[in-house]
Amino acid sequence: MEASSDVSQSNGTILKLSGIDKTFGGTHALADVSFDLKEGEVHALVGENGAGKSTLIKVVTGAYYPDMGTIEVGGEKYQSLRPEQARNLGISVVYQEFNILPELSVAENIFMGAQPKGRLNLIDMGARRKKTYELLERLGAQDSINPNEIVKNLTVGEQQIVEISKALATDAHIIIMDEPSAVLPSRELERLFSVIRVLRAEGHGIIYISHRLNEVFELADRVTVLKDGQHMATKNVAETNNSELVRLMVGRELTDMYPPADNKPGDVLLEVSDIDIDGTVFGVNLHVREGEVLGLAGLGGSGRTTVCRALVGLADIHSGEISYLGKPAPKTAGSASQAGLVLIPEDRKSYGLVLNQSMRFNLALPNLIEFVRGGVLRSRIEKQAVNSMVEDIQIKPPDTEILAESLSGGNQQKVVVGKWLLTNPKLVIFDEPTRGIDVGAKAEIYQRIRELTYKGVGVIMASSELPELFGVSDRILVFYEGRIRGELERKNFSEEAIMRLATATEEKEVPVQGGVDL
């Protein structure tokens, strides 16, 4: 109630941080950072991992007390906020990992904090259902989400809308979204964007954190760049461009984002003939050569990931054959990795790392047999191998005993890559190798991929980011609904050609480019 009356202050600024300083044991996490948010605005917050975005958000939500500076919200100045105070002031966060209870219904989740009460002070389920419907209607999701549905049956995107509705149910008018797109398959992105536009039109202020600059340009009104805890710039999105933002984030021009394409493909390493996988993949043929990068494009659910998993024995192949080094391919993940055929999966938290163990433990895990002499693991050999890999993949800090869960996303991905590179693979399959990691770490991953090809290793890279497919691949196969719709050679790479194949639209004006094999 008090929140809405305060919105109408001068020029619509609803949140203003001035001169925020926060130090952790001698480290400046934030140094003299200022930030402001207007009503009806999407203000993007960008920066590399460790730039201070999370710290800044935690200052706003009351999780951290700043050492210096003021927080102005609802016309009042505060030195710091307590979490419940921030909530009462209408500040709410939609985290990447949702705070929802999977076994309860949509309505129960949305009104978890403040259940509508009826007679005898019991929960008024009818009112709750009605209010839930109204909230969903505001967000344009009333048709796809039933208030009585159990939350775990919803898609990730729908769960995110429940999480946003939950914020709205507490009268939040400052909504912070921490990389909301990172968890979404691409087909659910558009709905998230339209929800955000609804929120903006209603006059809410939205702080939008993302690694994807194209989203910033699509959604945001203003953008603030943080680097090493310092405020680099706040720009109107209309007055800046991609390369300027990258330069501000990284502190240098990233002209060398992608390594040169000077690898020399050799003999065929793996050949897939006409495989069918359980109603999701049909008649797929492909081959990869030594020292070649084969890109796999296609929308989420097009069969890319399933094919990647099948190649290392993680999906049941109905019919067809896979031959690897001239022989039938290994049938299980264990035997595949022993044969030098490894998959670096998309979701590193559930498939990549043992999070409660050290970096060393994780790097060593698939390589233990290399460190055994006389039945005993030799820690000296292990440490040598691990340390040289940490140096190769440039993980900073190079503290191998640090727990995997406390590494940043970029470093976690480097560890996943590193643990498989240590096995001296012959063919590496990357599924979304750079999801949720910052620009600098991306460039390093691309460099590693190129180095692999120099050593004659074959690479398959499935990705939904076209720039990286163009930057790294020698050839690109485009998947559509479980089939390969076409193949593009490097000289024919273009966004239109790929999107036309990936969405199966016929574009009459633009002739199909050479090399497209329909």
Binding site: G352, V354, I402
Partner: protein, 335 residues
Amino acid sequence: MAVTFEEASGSFTSRSGKLMTFVRKNGSIFLIYGLIILIAGTAAISSDTFRSPSNMANILRQSIILGLLAIGQSLVILTGGMDISIDMMARTVALVIATLFAMFNSDPGLILPLILLGVVVGVALGGVNGLLITRTHANPFIITFGVAFILRGVNLAISTTPIRGIPSEYLRIYDTKIGIIAVNVIVMAIIWFLVWLFTTRTRLGRALYAVGGSPRIARLSAIRVNRTLVWAYVLSGFFASLAGLFVLSRMGVGDPGTAEGMTFQSIVAVAVGGISLYGGRGSIVGTLGGVLLLTILSNVFNLIQVNIYYQQLLLGLVVLIAVAAYRSPRTVRSG
């Protein structure tokens, strides 16, 4: 002048930083041994019975049964499981061997073959646990609980009264000493060392941690998850059989009450020693600490003649305090 997080945490590679990481990583171990020193120190200052060398040697020998069971329990808990049947496996071994001794007129020539048989029985029972768990994918707690119930019935069928007829030579396992130290204490020390080596320096040992941390990632990392699990339960059965054989030599009869309540104590020792009950984290060094702590406490309680009921109460308090102390602070991430 701003310093990035990366540079700041980079300083952790300095010597003091490494020490810090070491202390933080092994916090539970420092805690448990600190507690042991505190309690044993207080007891030693206030009681000359406690600090007498013979009592010290006695404590070490008293710790053996719990030690053997807690080792097996540790290996299983590291994989993220739990073995509820270890007390009953130990009892089954003790009663079967005692019955056979009685049947063959206490023939001392049978000591070695029967010890081997006892170990085979323990390993086989552990194997049954392991196979049931990996084949049915059921919760290890439920499976081993069921097996424990079956064994309890089997044991009641074998005998409800002490079984006599253990050859006196067999009792030497418990009695033989060098000076005041029992030989079995020395053997136990070697076992602890070998188990430590096993958990830290072998592929199977490392696999226990990986499976407990995340079976899915372990499988993707070319680790044979089911084989690792079966091994953990087989080893648990193996150590339970050693415990049963040891109890037999200590009691001198096949006691139908063998190892009563020891499953719970073994879990307490493992948990107090800092091995995560969710699996994948902790160290056998911590379990040794947990075993010593519980044994010292029970020794002290007996010396100052604490009523047995209050002993249980105090033991419960120790568990709660330890659990509260391990509640790790949430890690803060930048970004």
